[in-house]
Subunit: 559 residues, 2 copies
Amino acid sequence: MTTTGTDLLATHRERLDDASKAIRGRGYHSAFPESPSPRVYGETAAADGKAAFERYLGTTFPLETPGSRGTVITEHSPFGIPLDIAYPRTVEDGLDELLEAARSGMADWRKAGIDARTGVTLEILARLHKRVFELANAVQHTSGQAFVMAFQAGGAHALDRALEAVAYAYEEMNRYPAAATWEKPAKGNPIRMEKTFTVTGRGVALVIGCNTFPTWNSWPGLFASLVTGNAVVVKPHPLAVLPLAITVEVCREVLAEAGFDPNLVTLAAERAGDGLAKPLATRPEVKLIDFTGGSEFGEWLEQNATQATVFTEKAGVNAVIVDSTDAFKALCGNLAFTLSLYSGQMCTTTQNLFVPAGGIETDEGHKSFEEVGAGIAGAMGKLLGDDARAVEILGGIVNQAVISRLELAPEYGDVVLESRAIQHPAFPDALVRTPLLVAIDAKDEEVYGRECFGPVSFLVKTADTAESIDLFRTTVTEGGAMTAGIYSTDPKTLEQARDAALDAGVALSENLTGQVFVNQSAAFSDFHGTGANPAANATYTDGAYVASRFRVIQSRRHV
Amino acid sequence: MTTTGTDLLATHRERLDDASKAIRGRGYHSAFPESPSPRVYGETAAADGKAAFERYLGTTFPLETPGSRGTVITEHSPFGIPLDIAYPRTVEDGLDELLEAARSGMADWRKAGIDARTGVTLEILARLHKRVFELANAVQHTSGQAFVMAFQAGGAHALDRALEAVAYAYEEMNRYPAAATWEKPAKGNPIRMEKTFTVTGRGVALVIGCNTFPTWNSWPGLFASLVTGNAVVVKPHPLAVLPLAITVEVCREVLAEAGFDPNLVTLAAERAGDGLAKPLATRPEVKLIDFTGGSEFGEWLEQNATQATVFTEKAGVNAVIVDSTDAFKALCGNLAFTLSLYSGQMCTTTQNLFVPAGGIETDEGHKSFEEVGAGIAGAMGKLLGDDARAVEILGGIVNQAVISRLELAPEYGDVVLESRAIQHPAFPDALVRTPLLVAIDAKDEEVYGRECFGPVSFLVKTADTAESIDLFRTTVTEGGAMTAGIYSTDPKTLEQARDAALDAGVALSENLTGQVFVNQSAAFSDFHGTGANPAANATYTDGAYVASRFRVIQSRRHV
């Protein structure tokens, strides 16, 4: 006997309801425990997950993609271990077959209705959660994130973000009744009609994954599109296929079990350089695109894939304004962690720290510009002083392009803190680097006004905080930003920074000195990106992120 | 003492609440009486409105547009009366000034908050309602709609559609709390943060009006953009400026009274042929565009104004499948009215009637293909037999391009019903035409597969209903449609038509034989367009129509 989608919704109803409540209140909520501790997940979970990951190495991943031609091996672990996993290779010639297969199950998927689709999608999340250690290993060895971060950002938090998107989509689809009676007063008898409203997907949704956050950045769009009735083609970054291959495998397994066409979710792996994303993104069948990656290709999609609704997360110049503080040590510690986490390879890592040339007032007295730099550098030195501990924060460098940028960056100004290479105690071939901090003049906007992705941050010397706020406003308006912060003890300055953040369209974190960091956002509460500046045209998650993923088609008749 | 926006919301709270309830239930609702009767609007309302309209004739409209250069006269009444109304002329050289002026009030508009913006917007609707007879005259003499239709579609129903959009936007903005407390459990003390969420407009919204429905098609986008915090530039069709000039005047009046910058809403009238829409639509300040008009320019906007979110309503090939009926006479009468209303110049008028070559079964026995055509033609003859009555249904032909198409159309097939010119009893220079009905073969898809806008409809002779449904599906999928209908007594055929309509993404009206017509949609209940086929990429009104008109920007701090 088949478990129907509606049965599955009953199973996961409480999880959905809690998520729906959370997105309305935007208080703290998490559905998937973020601690990989054996006390939470069981004594064997970590070892089992690692073993499951290792079984993939050197094999062909068990997945079929319609229209694929042979297989392709493209990944390379930033930790230096050989992966050698082969995936079905999608080529331009096979797109007709792929897209036809993707579409063929859509009518049944539509007919199943909102509840069944939501049940299936929530079951997929539950199955992914069961494989969270396996996924964490896969994320670690493709993105270069250290294990605990890969478990959290790539597993638990990614599941929370996926659930958040599903909750939004479920709420959005249920804004419309399935049926209504319309009765217009009229002379004699009223005019009565019965109306039916059906949620229908837009077509094929394309998800283009990125190297650094293959699950966290792909799942919200993937599951928002799937639950709203679309078929989804997942095109992973050639260097980060495995996490999405596992994802697609789970989707297909659950779809098939519930009686749906597994080709509603497919993996389109390509050989690096094949350039599959462009022809795929501009196919008329493709009506939705979710992209995370560089600005150049993101803008190309926005400008060329005009047959689709395009959601992009691109590059930005994240900024923190340093004006004054009543907790200088904590400020330095907080920023040190932000700059160090995953070697600054987060789209949310601060790049530009605006500090007045004359220094700032603190609880430790006046600190000169140089002393502020030294304070942050010192905190980073302490945080990363022990190699074994450092690698668990830094993880590995995701690819060679990051190293190239890092090597060029000292020339941009005065080095406040040098980057150093670290030998990973467990992975001898891992590429590990500590962040570089460079002091730079406010006039050098052509340098800090564009993204220098990786472990490079600039201490920008401004005339005063007024100039810091101005430069913050202009650089974010022009270059975009995923995150912004301010440190100030002055309510008026905080107010000005808030206004500037509203003008520039970026979220603002104020005086973070504890265990919350400007580069981290909490699902169900914090928006990730805003859609209001060039760094991203959408956010995780608001109504706009889900509303255009489906249409409502009505029929009406007299009764 | 200024009446604040929040005061205004209190005044209109019940109207808003009723609308919000209506869009959830999608039953019958109307906030603005559709009958122009003196019993509803008072004995002098009609004469006062006409006089107010006539006072504009031959004058310069009292409106200032930043950056305008001199004035321009561009309108021509389809009823043949001289209008000669001058408006400030916007030119490409003046766009810097216009857009700067538009943006300068946005920060205050944002700061005012959701309730104040909604109060101001609802007050604008109330003021427009007070001027509904004046507006009806303005719509009549620019669009060519007969007076009662202009009053309803251009006045009362347009207000309902505007209110519907405002209700959706209000609901959408209120999905997010203004503030939230976030408390994460942690060892020792929980981590507590206070978060602020601010709704911010996207930038300048551009509304590009059309000739046939200057208010009905412009108001939803205009007010959805305004209430969500954007500034709005209204670019009317050169032949239909007055209804939007009055609209903009009312907006500016209410904005100023409530203490806001009147330049938040401006009129950008151009000389026909100036081609102002293209440079305006691609300005970086413009983040939202609402367009109603031809497919060519609509598609140009979708493909080129990629810096903006673009909402388009374009052309389509609306279809009705005739399979069988238990009320042949009523079928003919219903279709006759649909084809005749406003001389078929509605974007929702049926163009293609798919009828099997072998005829159909009816309550009057079998009717051959020719008898079906004769039945509809006969009903049209009866409906339009009396000239004085006919002109109140037909109105005037909106422009010469419609006449040209009408004159060419008899060549496409066998004329079932000729178009005839009617002398308008009140307006001797009015251009009035009855609809043309042409029988055409199913194979001539290159003719009926594209829009022939105006009083031209095709009786498409198909092999059988199965072919009718196939052709319906393919023509709508390829050419788009705003409306579709089916007449059938067979539940299985109805089910197939519903599936085809879902596949093609068009709303379906079934067996309309009374006082509801396929070309009419009821605000708060029927969606207008779907956004799921090439005729329109959006609908009046769903969540997707409002959700991307604003962003939510947060700030957060420890408490």
